[in-house]
Amino acid sequence: MKPMKPYPFYFVIAALALYVTFFIIPSLAGIAYSFTDWSSYSEEVSFVGLDNFRTILSPDESYLSFIGNTLVFTFWTIILKTAFGLGLALLLNRGVRSFVNGYRVLIYLPAILPTLVVALIFRSILNPATGLLNSLLRSVGLDGLALSWLTDPAIALYAVIGVDSWKGIGYIMVILLAGLQTIPRDYYEAAEIDGAGAWAKFRYITLPMLAPALMIVTVLNVLYGLRIFDIVYALTNGGPGYATEVLSTEIFKAFSKGQFGLGTAISSILFLILVVTGYLVIRVMERQPDRQ
């Protein structure tokens, strides 16, 4: 039999050229510009070494808190979306018997709403004086729980996390549900014959078999969380003060102010965090099956 001939290399040249022109070169240029004082205030662009990075990492500046906010946002959205997404996926996979497709649509619906729409709705709902949430809480006598959700710096970031999780749970649920449906029922039947309870089946069958899907959602959540911009920008614009400022909103602000060198330096740091975190998450999760 004649061996299959591979496609010639030049088939990829066009795609490669586009990738290099529109991704690799701009990315490298961005990293190069992070070592300059490029700004809209001067036509000259000078090499400033690590000055921009020193500024960002200085304890006298607020940038470290923006990095902290980004990490806190990422951590909690991963936990909330995965926990609730998994719970709902389990429920819809086996627990609920009727109107399953309807529930799936309802739970997935927030994921397809534009972020700006979600933010505007929640800005109204979470308004401390006139918002629906506080009005409801007050109407049932829970005045103490009627908080300044988006304007109290102690809780504003968590309110944003809550809104983003609400929007994203459906998406995560769909991925995990797909993973759950690939697990053969035979495994559960065999475990039941051996006397395994619900927790044992979850711990020793569902979780290991779902590991690939969990890895996908974790990596997706990590990359999404670290790059978060739209929901923060639309809900709080980084405020009150800097309580919800994250790296991407600060990059946007730096560019808006014409501080291009500083903006590219923050982008470079975000890129580094993304690469390192993404790599670590994949390594850690790849080891999980070996432990079973």
Partner: protein, 441 residues
């Protein structure tokens, strides 16, 4: 995204019909010379809010008179400077462009010596208020026409006269008196002050608009700041103003919802009768009456911002300004348009048809200030000064940062001293970026 605002003029309609293939109708109508298609279309690019309806009306009249149409290209304010700079730097600027005057911005943001046309010899130039014209002038050359109500846009505290009378309050002239008034209103269950902190820009006015007061207490301070021989941090009057602003917030005078309030609700708040005061420009009373006819403009009084015991009128001579692009092939037509706008009858039309405009900064222009505002300006006619976002370099570009810092101060995350030192730090960064020689010493 560009929003093109086009008047529904007949020539405009003809162009549309021509595109749609309605050429026969167009030919019939074109027999009337006054309805002919414009011989030229000038593009005018501006930020949101800078082009008032009255100017668009005037542009239509200009087209009827000269056959030169104005194509307004209005962009969202947060994208405007980036788009404009891209167009100017790529040599594809519009015939006319809007910009914020102010000597620092003229050089840094617009590079007017390269991108704009010298208008010093235009007939209207000598009639423009010198204080205002100075903000569009670089090296003795006037580059822009500020067609904006500069004096009327002075930010003052508007107050509900009926509430003040009901609770026996007098107009405060010091911070202590202001605080006492606020406390009395609060005790009576009235929100003393509607202060919209959420948008991030309004509460900054309380601090930077007091430039004339800082200058009064430390003559030459703005020059020293610009020469990098003085700082915001450590200045007693500034520290006092910021600390007092925090006290106003901490005491609850701004209400419980200040961090979520937005400025667009200011007239509604004032008209509700549940709010004692609002920091707004002098046209605010007319605007409230326009939006809520039950509340009369005469029921709203004004007084100067009393932080740091200020009793000087804070004028910002900078404002949205018309520039002609130096690379435009239609410079003469663009000059003709500016000259048309400056005709007395057209300025009167603009003032009459713009609720927030009380006057225009040109000699002999009419005014429509309320009696209270006029009295305030008359009383303090010799006590005027320039606000610090205009008088001091590298302050205006960090306006929103200062807003975020002040909000952080309200919430306890920053001290007043730190707010001021942050301003110095950002000024130094911007000066360094601009390679300002005063920061190289």
């Amino acid at each position: 995204m560009t929003i093109r605002v086009k008047g529904a003029s007949i020539p405009g309609a003809l162009r549309l019909m021509g595109l749609a293939g309605a050429s026969s109708l167009a030919l019939v109508m074109a027999s009337d010379a006054s309805l002919a298609a414009p011989k030229l279309t000038l593009t005018y690019m501006a930020s949101q809010e800078w082009v008032k309806d009255a100017e668009q009306d005037l542009a239509k009249k200009f087209e009827e008179k000269t056959g030169i149409a104005i194509d307004f290209q209005i962009l969202p304010s947060d994208q405007y400077f980036n788009v404009l700079q891209t167009k100017l730097n790529s040599g594809e600027g519009p015939d006319l462009f809007g910009g914020q005057s102010g000597v620092t911005d003229l050089k840094l943001q617009y590079n007017v010596e390269k991108n704009a046309v010298d208008l010093s010899k235009e007939p209207w130039a000598s009639k423009e208020d010198p204080l205002v014209a100075a903000q569009s002038t670089v090296n003795g050359k006037l580059y822009g026409m500020t067609y904006w109500d500069i004096v009327g846009n002075t930010w003052v505290v508007s107050y509900n006269k009926k509430l003040f009378a009901q609770y026996g309050l007098s107009v405060p002239t010091t911070y202590a008196e202001f605080k006492a008034d606020c406390q009395k209103l609060k005790d009576a269950g009235v929100q003393p002050l509607f202060e919209p902190v959420a948008p991030g820009w309004h509460h900054v006015l309380w601090f930077l608009e007091l430039g004339p007061r800082y200058e009064e207490l430390t003559p030459g301070l703005a020059d020293s700041l610009n020469a990098n021989t003085a700082t915001f941090a450590g200045n007693a009057a500034m520290t006092s103003a910021v600390t007092q602003l925090k006290e106003v917030f901490d005491n609850g005078y701004m209400g419980q919802n200040a961090l979520a309030d937005v400025y667009t609700d200011a007239s509604k708040a004032m008209a509700s009768g549940k709010v004692g005061m609002v920091l707004a420009n002098t046209g605010f009373a007319s605007l409230v009456e326009h939006d809520y006819p039950d509340m009369k403009a005469s029921d709203i009084g004004v007084f100067l911002m009393p932080l740091a015991d200020n009793q000087r009128v804070n004028i910002n001579p900078a404002g949205p300004t018309h520039f002609i692009y130096s690379g435009s092939p239609n410079i003469d037509a663009a000059k003709q348009y500016l000259d048309f706008l400056a005709q007395p009858e057209n300025m009167d039309y603009f003032i009459d048809h713009t609720p927030t405009a009380m006057t225009l900064p040109f000699e002999g222009t009419k005014t429509k200030f309320s009696a209270d505002a006029q009295a305030m300006f008359d009383t303090h006619k010799d006590a005027r000064g320039t606000v610090y976002q205009t008088a001091v370099t590298y302050v205006n570009p960090q306006w929103m940062d200062i807003g975020a810092d002040l909000t952080a101060m309200f919430t306890g995350a920053l001290t007043p001293e730190k707010v001021l030192s942050n301003i110095d730090k950002r000024r130094a960064d911007l000066a360094k970026a601009a390679k300002d020689p005063a920061w190289k010493k």
